[in-house]
Amino acid sequence: MSLVIPALFIIIFTVAAAKKVNVFSSFCAGAGDGLKFTLSVLPVIAAVFMMCAIAQASGIADAATAALAPAMRALGIPEELAKLAIIKPFSGSGSLSLLTETVKEYGADSYISRCACTLYASSETVFYVYALYFAGGNKKGRALPLAAVAFSSALAAVLACLLCRVM
């Protein structure tokens, strides 16, 4: 797997050089486009990250966990996972540290950490992806895809527990 990337470089650079492309200036032009793009998404990401930070610091995330815990328990999801399921869409680093804690506390092969790992692997930091993909465009019609993803993330939590119980 790790050989793919060096191989890609060899193929692309050799073909480009053979076709008399100025590889250096092409590369720089591409990197320049990258810079322009990064600058264009920075404000959006800043706003979204502030929202995520404030949601965690003010205890909204904890309150939501507490409020949803009974419903989650009814679906067979342990409380530790409820927290992970709620933080994951907001913060990649936050959920990774939570996952590490869970795995260390309960042991790597326990039911809870297997569930947590499955859940972590099958969901994304939805709000970050949202900011990145929809940055710049301020059209309507963005709620629909977000709702579809929110529902499937909730499903991931239930399914992760079910699968780990069976397998």
Binding site: I5, V21, A31, F49, A57, F134, V149, S152, A156
Partner: protein, 189 residues
């Protein structure tokens, strides 16, 4: 998004009455994380967009994406060649677990879809990326191995089933809801 943003900020400001000192540092911390994320984003971009520009100038991209492009024309209901090629590259990189490489292609496809006013394709591409199609959960396997798991990679199968099922559900819901909204009225936004 506007509604979520306002709701979270107002609720947080109300709750902050209990601990007003923590409010500002949390916001600044969020902005700092965003700046850090953008720096690492640029690093990934400089690499992949640089490389993909070289490939593009050499005419490699056209060849590589040609195989997947017919499928993408159909899936995303687009006639734009570049958009379909970028979307194809995005999906391929995602499935191989090259998340960093997938993002620039995804954004390029997104911009192209926006230019031709293809809201449907924009939404679908976001759904596919946000519900994460990943074949090998490498982070999780590494974490389990480092915590002394007997069989770190046995998470592979449940994770694969779970992520596949969720992606499938998300796409199905999106398609169904999109149809519903556009059949009844255009008010759903």
């Amino acid at each position: 998004m506007n509604v979520i943003f306002c709701a979270v900020f107002i609720a947080a400001a109300v709750l902050a009455a209990a601990d007003p000192e923590a409010f500002l540092p949390a916001l600044i911390d969020g902005a700092e994380q965003a700046a850090a994320a953008c720096v690492s984003l640029f690093c990934i971009y400089a690499l992949w967009m640089g490389l993909s520009r070289v490939a593009q100038d050499a005419g490699i991209n056209d060849g590589a994406a040609r195989a997947l492009r017919p499928a993408c024309f159909k899936i995303f209901a687009t006639r734009n060649k570049q958009a379909a090629a970028a979307a194809a590259a995005n999906l391929t990189c995602n499935m191989l677990g090259l998340g960093g490489a997938a993002t620039p292609y995804g954004i390029a496809a997104m911009r192209a879809f926006e230019r031709e006013n293809n809201d449907f394709a924009c939404g679908l591409l976001f759904v596919l990326n946000a519900s994460s199609v990943q074949l090998i959960p490498s982070t999780v396997i590494a974490l389990r191995a480092s915590c002394g798991s007997a069989a770190a990679a046995d998470i592979f199968l449940p994770a694969l089933i779970c992520t596949a099922a969720c992606t499938f559900t998300a796409v199905a819901i999106y398609l169904a809801m999109y149809r519903l909204c556009h059949l009844s009225s255009r008010r759903c936004s």
